[in-house]
């Protein structure tokens, strides 16, 4: 949801004449919304500007974002950052749905709907 939020803000700022670049890790959400410039960092959600504590990586990614602003010539410019997270386990593990948690998810949904109904 954060990726959609900043994508909508980027579109608004760009329309006001401010050049924007989104640095994010949910490629489909950003590209579906449609933004002028996007640096895709293929990491688990949370650290799109580089791994925690890795100042060199963070600087490289932010530098790339600035370069993309300088060099882009058309909207929907996506550049994939070359950095790698190092493992791929997170890809399937995040928001996983399976027999191991199906009952728990259904129960969590019931609690959430009850909370929403009470808040109305």
């Amino acid at each position: 949801m954060c990726h959609q939020t900043v994508s909508l803000v980027a579109r608004r700022l760009e329309a006001a004449g401010i050049a924007t670049v989104v640095v994010g890790s949910a490629r489909d959400i950003v590209e579906e919304a449609g933004v002028p410039r996007f640096v895709f960092v293929d990491f688990p959600l949370g650290n799109s500007c580089g791994k925690p504590g890795d100042r060199a990586m963070q600087r490289d990614i932010v530098s790339l974002a600035i370069e993309v602003v300088a060099s882009s010539i058309a909207p929907r410019t996506t550049v994939q950052a070359p950095q790698r997270w190092g493992s791929d386990d997170w890809r399937d593990a995040f928001m996983a749905v399976g027999d191991h948690n199906r009952d728990a998810l259904r129960a969590a949904g019931e609690r959430r709907r009850a909370h929403q109904a009470a808040a109305r």
Binding site: A10, R11, R12, E14, A19, L105, G109, R112, R113
Partner: protein
Amino acid sequence: MSDRPDRQLEHRSHVSYIDKSREYYQAQGFEQAYRWAAFDEVPFTRLSKPVSECNVAVVTTSFLHHHDSYFGAPATDKVVYHHRVADVPDRMFTDDLSWDKQATHTDDTESFLPLSALRALADDGVIGSLNDRFFGVPTEYSQRRTGLDADQVAEWCEHDGVDIAVLVPL
């Protein structure tokens, strides 16, 4: 350059969060799938000067203080804000947002709020300056409400003379 023969066996080039979230909320019993924002037209502004002369601002979805949230939804009492870059807390509040809490953490704010990195680029003359304040936007399911927040951020950026905005979601 090494190629990636393993890639499509397990994963395509990136995770589809739209697919993942649809399956997840279906499993929770929500029948109506969320309609993600989708536009055909995309605005585009060409830079009118070199980046070395540009004032750069950051837009984040993290917040300065704790906000209560329930059942995995973003907190509902958050309000669009601005804050001085010279006065950034050691930690930002991200607990209510849907980042990957199993795989990583957000204890290092520079991993999602790149103020020091941009200050270093300003010191080196790569960019003109880091804007005196950064901007925070609540994460909303309502695209209409986000539109109002975007209007506010645009107003602040215009007031500050921002040339480039770097937007980083969690």
